[in-house]
């Protein structure tokens, strides 16, 4: 079961990273236009 719990932690970590990337893309598009 521990490996599934590790998977959840990975999901949390990737989710935070994804949100950061999305904000950066939005920012870059605003500057690019």
């Amino acid at each position: 079961m521990t490996e599934y719990i590790a998977a959840i932690a990975l999901v949390l970590g990737i989710g935070a990273m994804l949100r950061g990337l999305i904000l950066l893309i939005e920012d870059a598009l605003k500057k690019g236009k």
Binding site: A9, V11, M17, I25
Partner: protein, 246 residues
């Protein structure tokens, strides 16, 4: 800017964790409908997880202070603080994720709905922070990535809840013999969703790689640091996807 974003995302993780806590029952007692009283921390796995969780709690305190100071300094125009702000934010994110994992092992959460298959919850584009991007970019690429992120969040929610249900099935099986066995199909559901998760991550990686190219070629985006991060992210999503597919 990057530091601020990393910091913001770690704050998001922190606030989600606090939100989840607010919905839970008191830590020392779980009255109905929240479930059974938690078992004492006695088995070696739980003892080790508790030790690691306490260690991470202290690390989070220190990192929060460090990151706040560094990010504030960067915001005030002190450029050398940028690296410290980014590094602190990333370390804080990693410590928060590690603590969330350890606390899950220590608290052994009990879900009274363990006999039901959990379908997950759809998050809106607003909740996922996608609305701002979609408002200025209505390309097929943007809507494709948005749909992928939304599905990945759904699968993540399914896995998180269903893992608790597997453990709850095992706990309940000890007391109620006639319920014994639901951990088998709950676990299959977790495994199936992790495989879908992997497939969607590989797809997301592909889309991020294409997006990096398109931003540069067609949108006039000249931020090399961002383009590099997108390529790195694409490779990372692909790696994570293949891991989940195994």
């Amino acid at each position: 800017m990057i530091g601020a974003v990393v910091f913001a995302s770690t704050l998001f993780v922190l606030s989600s964790a606090m939100e989840a806590d607010a919905q839970n029952c008191p830590l020392d007692w779980h009255p109905p409908p929240c479930g059974n009283p938690p078992k004492p921390v006695s088995d070696p796995k739980k003892v080790a997880a508790k030790k690691a969780s306490d260690y991470h709690a202290k690390a989070i305190e220190g990192l929060t202070a460090w990151t706040s100071v560094a990010c504030a300094a960067e915001k005030l125009g002190y450029a050398p603080a940028r690296a410290a702000c980014v590094a602190g934010g990333m370390a804080l994110g990693a410590a928060l994720a590690a603590k969330a994992k350890e606390d899950r092992i220590v608290n052994d959460p009990f879900d009274p709905n363990y006999w039901e298959l959990y379908g997950g919850r759809w998050s809106s584009y607003d909740e996922l922070g996608l609305s701002g991007w979609l408002a200025i970019d209505n390309s097929p690429r943007a809507s494709n990535i948005a749909a992928l992120v939304q599905t990945i969040e759904l699968l993540g929610d399914r896995v998180a809840v269903s893992v608790d249900r597997v453990m709850s099935c095992i706990q309940a099986g000890i007391d109620m013999q006639w319920y014994q066995g639901c951990e088998v199909w709950q676990q299959s559901w977790v495994e199936q969703n992790l495989r879908w998760f992997g497939a969607y991550y590989v797809e997301l990686g592909r889309n991020f790689a294409d997006l990096a190219y398109e931003l540069e070629q067609y949108y006039g985006v000249n931020d090399q640091q961002l383009i590099h991060m997108l390529h790195e992210g694409a490779a990372w999503f692909n790696w994570a996807g293949v891991e989940f597919l195994q």
